[in-house]
């Protein structure tokens, strides 16, 4: 049964193998499949400046293998929207302790027809509700918007679509809500929590370094 595991710097030593597989899959999906050649790395592991101690990973694992993943990163730190895609947010970049950036979302090819997407989407809502994260920002390909909307996500555009690597993409802010979690669960017929997390994990918001936004 696929579950979504929360991995932070507190417990990453327990997930060495899945994380290694995760970085390789990212290379597979984002560089090879989508053709984001800037991310190419000779060792076949797609790792960027935001894969550091501030990142939180929510990985979908099925029998110890990664079938999908996503990353959360504090917006009070320099992050992708502030450093790379700022021009896409004509309405301003939401930044606060309780706002995180959501990046590197993927589901492996073999699982794209099933419920893995919904599990990951439910997991991100559930995790944010638990942690007091109220909003996520993200840059996504436009075709994702109806998928999010259908699963009950409340999405506000931060700018007009801009073509990146041949695909119209948009910067957006997503309001975390209980209704969204309920809707995605209903749609996928998911009854219970998807999340596997370490009870000892320190609250994410308390770990965010206090820096001027």
């Amino acid at each position: 049964m696929t579950k979504v595991h929360v991995i932070t710097r507190d417990n990453r030593h327990l997930y060495e193998d899945p994380l290694e597989e995760y970085f390789r899959l990212r290379h597979e999906v984002f560089v090879k499949e989508r053709g984001w050649r800037d991310l190419h790395r000779p060792d076949g592991r797609e790792i960027d400046a935001y894969d550091n101690g501030n990142a939180v990973y929510l990985l979908a694992l099925d029998q110890d293998h990664v079938v999908g993943g996503q990353r959360l990163y504090p917006t009070v730190m320099p992050h992708m929207l502030s450093e790379v895609f700022g021009h896409m947010a004509q309405r301003g970049i939401p930044r606060a302790e309780h706002i995180f950036e959501w990046t590197r979302y993927f589901v492996i090819k073999e699982r794209r027809m099933g419920r893995t997407d919904c599990r990951l989407l439910a997991a991100v809502q559930e995790f944010c509700l638990q942690e007091g994260i109220t909003e996520l920002t993200a840059v996504v390909e436009m075709w994702w918007l109806p998928r999010w909307q259908q699963t009950g996500f409340k999405v506000k555009p931060l700018g007009l679509p801009t073509v990146i690597e041949g695909q119209p993409c948009i910067a957006a802010a997503i309001t975390i809500s209980r209704e969204s979690l309920d809707q995605v669960r209903r749609l996928a017929g998911l009854r219970d929590s998807m999340l596997v997390r370490d009870d000892q994990m320190s609250p994410v918001l308390e770990r965010v370094p206090h820096v001027a936004a």
Binding site: Q90, R91, M113, G114, R115, D117, C118, E141, M142, W143, L145, P146, R147, Q149, Q150, T151, P157, G159, L160, P161, T162, Q167, P168, I170, L187, A188, G189
Partner: protein
């Protein structure tokens, strides 16, 4: 950024924000007609893409189409030959009608639908494919004779169209989550026996049809209910009161 592009952005965000206040599908038709006419659009349709067993009329969400054209389109079942619909299934990006390929020589019906549309002032168009989860497919196609389609206007149109579609979908969903006539009698029967714990083989014997036919009914019910498997289809059919035990 040029002032004009900024205007389109402001216009797009104002339009999107205003959608929240609309309370009926007709409001959406009116709002879309008003705003999209600024770009030269005269007609539009938001529709699901029918599977081989569905009729076009069943999957249309909203439309502002010229009098008469809808009847012609439905009567000739043009949805199966329409090059716009075909491209919709194969791309996630919005496109101009002129970008939808077909062969005038060998695809007579495709040429026919495009030609006859022109008679109704649907000469050029812009189409946004929608690909949701659980295999949900739809499109928002709009047209007219003098369109303002450029790299400056398209991003705003793309974004507005997506939000307008979602607003329409949501409003129609709350009106009636699933139409009662959605499932055929055979599909309902197959689900009722599944709910009673019978396998497809058992059900086939009970109903005097082959196991394969039973499975086909279940698969079709799954599609209509946007269910990922038989269990979920049964659950939804019960929830929507399409079957009773």
């Amino acid at each position: 950024m040029s002032d004009r592009a900024f205007d389109h952005a402001t216009e797009a965000f104002a339009f999107i924000d205003s959608l929240d206040d609309l309370i009926s599908p007709d409001d959406v038709v009116e709002a879309v007609a008003r705003t999209f006419s600024l770009f030269g659009f005269e007609n539009f349709i938001m529709t699901g893409l029918p599977n081989p067993k569905e009729r076009f009329e069943q999957v249309v969400l909203l439309k502002k189409w010229p009098m008469g054209w809808f009847d012609i389109y439905a009567k000739h079942d043009y949805v199966r030959s329409d090059p716009i619909i075909r491209l919709c299934k194969n791309t996630t990006q919005p496109f101009e009608w002129s970008e939808a390929p077909y062969d005038r020589m060998t695809e007579r019906k495709a040429a026919e639908v495009m030609d006859r549309a022109t008679d109704f002032r649907m000469r050029d168009g812009f189409c946004l494919p929608i690909h949701g989860v659980n295999g949900y497919e739809a499109c928002f196609s709009m047209s007219g004779v003098d369109l303002d389609l450029s790299p400056r206007t398209k991003p705003a149109l793309h974004l507005m169209a997506m939000y307008a579609f979602e607003r329409a979908r949501r409003l129609l969903e709350t009106q009636s989550p699933v139409a009662p006539s959605l499932l055929t009698p055979r599909e309902r029967e197959a689900l009722i026996w599944a709910a009673a714990g019978k396998s497809a083989a058992d059900t086939g014997e009970i109903l005097g049809i082959t196991e394969r036919t039973v499975t086909a009914h279940i698969v079709s019910a799954c599609q209509k209910l946007e269910a990922v498997n038989k269990t979920q289809a049964v659950a939804r059919a019960l929830q929507y009161k399409l079957i009773q035990l």
